[in-house]
Subunit: 266 residues, 3 copies
C-alpha cells in the first residue's frame, strides 16, 4: 500500500536527483513528455538512433519505451536500449500505445516484453487487455476497456511477464500479480489532452529511478499525475488552459497538495 | 450553401460519435492536431508505418494525408493508406503543405491526387495554385496567393481531380468546381500559430466523417475553426495565450457561439 | 558591443522582412521553434528530406541545423543543406544538442563543423566544451558546465572553426575568438521549458538573416530571448503558463521593453 509520507519523500528525491530519463517515445508527445518531466524536476532526453542507444542508456537513470508512432528502425533501437538498460540495472517502463488497435503494435509490445522484460508496463485498459490476450493470460479476459475489467488480465500479465502492470483509468489499477492497488486521484480533463498517458509513463520512470519498490513507484506516479490534474482542474475548465496549468501544477505540487487530494476522485 | 442548423447538428454528431481520424501528418503539428481533434470531440490517431497502414485505416472514419515533413517511407505509407481508405469508402483529406515551395512537394501532391484521388484537398492559396498549375488546370492561374485569386484555379482543380477544394485565407473558399462557397469566420491570430491550417484539415476530416456532402463538411469545418478563433480572440491578444484559449474554444463551442459569430469576419 | 538602437532596428527588420528560416531540427522542439519564430515575426519551415534540401535552402534566408534527435538520413540532409546554404551565402547556425553526451552527437557536430563550416555555433556550456575538446582547442578546458568556464574553450573553438560561438547560460557568452560579449538578460523559467535553447538558435538565425555582423546578431537574439523571458516571468511563475506568455512576449516585445530590461538579469 502506497504511503503518503513515502510519496512526498520520493517526490523530493526526484527533484534533488533530477534523474535523467531516456525516452524512446512517439512524435506526438515528445514535447509534452519532456515538459512534464522538467516541470516535475526530472531531466528528459529523447533519443532513438541505434548508433547512440548504449551511450545514452549509460547516462540514464531509467528508460521509457513508448510505441506510439512505430517504425522498424525505432523498434530496433527499442530492443537495443531495453537490453542495455536491463544489463545496467535501471528500470525499463513500457508504454504499449495502441496495442490491440493493430497487429503491428500488439506484436511489437509482445516481443518487447518477451525479449527486454520491462520492469513496469503502463497502459490503458484496452492496451493491457490486448497484450494479456496476446499470450500473457491463461484465460480470456473481458473485452470492455475499463481499468476494472482489465485488472484480472493485468494480474495474469504481471505474473507471467514479471513486470508490474499499471493501468490508467478513472481509477488507476497497479498490480504485481499479487493483489491490486487502486489510485483514485485524477481529473476528467486529463483525458482531453493528448499525451497525458504517455506523461504518466515517463513520470512512472522518474519515480522508479528513486524507489526500488516498483509497485510503490508506479502508484506514486499516478498519484502525482492525478493530483496535478486536480490542481489544474481547480484553475481551468477546458483543455487548452488546463494543460498549461497542469504543467504549472507538476512544478508546484508539494506535500500539502498531496495530502489535500489524497485518494480524492474527480 | 452551408446551413447554420446543419452545422450545429454535425458538430453534435462529431461529439456523439467521436470518429477516429487517422492522420499521416507532419512532425511539427502532430501534437497540436491531436489536441484540436480531442478538444472538438473527435478521436485522433497518428500512425505512419507501412506495416500497420491497412489495419489502422480499417479502424478509422476518415484519413488525413498531410505532406508537411515528407520523406520516402512516409510517401509510401500515404499511398497505401490512401488506397485502403478509398477502398473502404471513408473520406480522404489531402493537405498539400508547401506545394509549390519545392518540386518534391508539388510532385508528391500531384501523385497523391492522381493515384489516391482524395475527396477533399485543403490548403492555402499558394498551395492550391501550385497544384492546379502542375497539371490540373487548362489555363494559367494568377500567381498571387490570396484565396480569391486562387479560386478560379481551385474550381478547375476540383473539376479535373474530382475533389472538393477548400482554400483557407482571410475568407475561405470551398468549391466542387461548380461555384464557390465563402466562409468569413476567422481571426488574424490563427495565422500566428503554427499548425492551424493543418488542424483545419483534420477538423475537415472529422466533419466529412459525419456528413457525406463534402462541400458542406468542408464549410462546416472552416466555420468551426474560424468561430473558435474568434472566441479565443475575445480572450487573448497574442499567440501563446491565444492558442490555449483556441483549444478551450473548440471544446466549448456550441450552437450559441456558432449563431453569434455566423459569417462574421475578423 | 551590441547596441540598443541596433537591436531595436534589427527586430523591426525581422518583422518587416519575415525571413524564411529553414530548420532541420529535432522532433521535440519543431512545434515550439516554429511558434517562437512566428511570434517573433519570422517565417519557419521545417524540412529534412534530402530530395528537397537544395530547393528549400534556395528559398531560405538562413539555415538552422539542430542535432537533437539524430539519425543517419537526417545527418545526410544536414550536410547537403549546409553546403547549399554556404554556397548561396546565407548564414548557417549549428545547435549541437547533446554534444558530449554521446560520441555520436560529438562526432556529428565535429563533422558538420569541419565540412559545412557553420557561421554560428550556439549551445550550452557543456556542449560547447565537448566540441572544443573534440579537436577545436589546443589545450584542455575546464569540465564544469557554466558559460563562464566554457568561454576560454569557446574562444579557441571560434578561432579554429571560424564560427561565432554563442553559449547560453545564466549569463550568455558570445565570441568570435577575439573577446567575449556577455548578455545578462534571461529568466530562470526559460530553463524549465523544453526547447528554449533550440528557439534561441532559430532566433539567432532570424537576426543573422538581417545583420551581417554575426556577433551582433547572436547577441541580439539572446537579448530578445532573455527579455521575452523576463516579460513572461512578470506574468507567470510556473512553466506551463510561462511558456504561453513567453510566446506572447516574443509577439509583443518592442523598443520599450528592450530598453526597460537592457542588461538586467533574473
Amino acid at each position: 500500500m502506497t504511503d503518503q509520507k513515502q510519496t512526498i519523500e520520493d517526490l523530493k528525491k526526484v527533484r534533488e536527483q533530477a534523474p535523467l530519463i531516456h525516452n524512446i517515445t512517439n512524435y506526438v508527445v515528445m514535447n509534452s513528455t519532456a515538459n512534464a518531466l522538467i516541470s516535475l524536476g526530472a531531466s528528459p532526453v529523447m533519443a532513438h538512433a541505434v548508433e547512440e542507444m548504449e551511450d545514452m542508456v549509460g547516462l540514464a537513470s531509467a528508460l521509457v519505451i513508448n510505441i506510439g508512432t512505430l517504425s522498424e528502425k525505432w523498434i530496433e533501437a527499442m530492443h537495443i536500449a531495453g537490453k542495455a538498460a536491463k544489463k545496467k540495472g535501471i528500470p525499463v517502463i513500457l508504454d504499449p500505445v495502441g496495442a490491440g488497435a493493430t497487429a503491428y503494435r500488439t506484436n511489437t509490445s509482445k516481443s518487447l516484453i518477451d525479449e527486454v522484460k520491462p520492469d513496469i508496463i503502463r497502459g490503458n485498459g484496452s492496451e493491457i487487455m490486448a497484450i494479456a490476450q496476446a499470450g500473457f493470460t491463461t484465460k480470456g479476459v473481458d473485452s470492455t476497456a475499463s481499468a476494472e475489467s482489465a485488472s484480472e488480465g493485468a494480474q495474469e500479465l504481471a505474473r507471467l511477464s514479471g513486470a508490474v502492470v499499471s493501468i490508467s483509468g478513472k481509477t488507476d489499477h497497479i498490480t504485481d500479480g499479487r493483489g491490486i492497488t487502486k489510485i483514485k486521484n485524477g481529473h476528467h480533463l486529463l483525458g482531453k489532452v493528448t499525451g497525458t498517458g504517455c506523461a504518466s509513463s515517463a513520470i512512472t520512470a522518474a519515480f522508479a529511478s528513486v524507489n526500488n519498490n516498483l509497485v510503490d513507484a508506479a502508484c506514486e506516479a499516478m498519484i502525482i499525475m492525478g493530483t496535478a490534474g486536480q490542481m489544474a482542474g481547480a484553475r481551468a475548465d477546458a483543455p487548452g488552459t488546463f494543460y498549461a496549468h497542469f504543467l504549472d501544477a507538476l512544478y508546484q505540487i508539494n506535500g500539502e497538495q498531496i495530502k489535500k487530494y489524497w485518494q480524492h476522485d474527480g
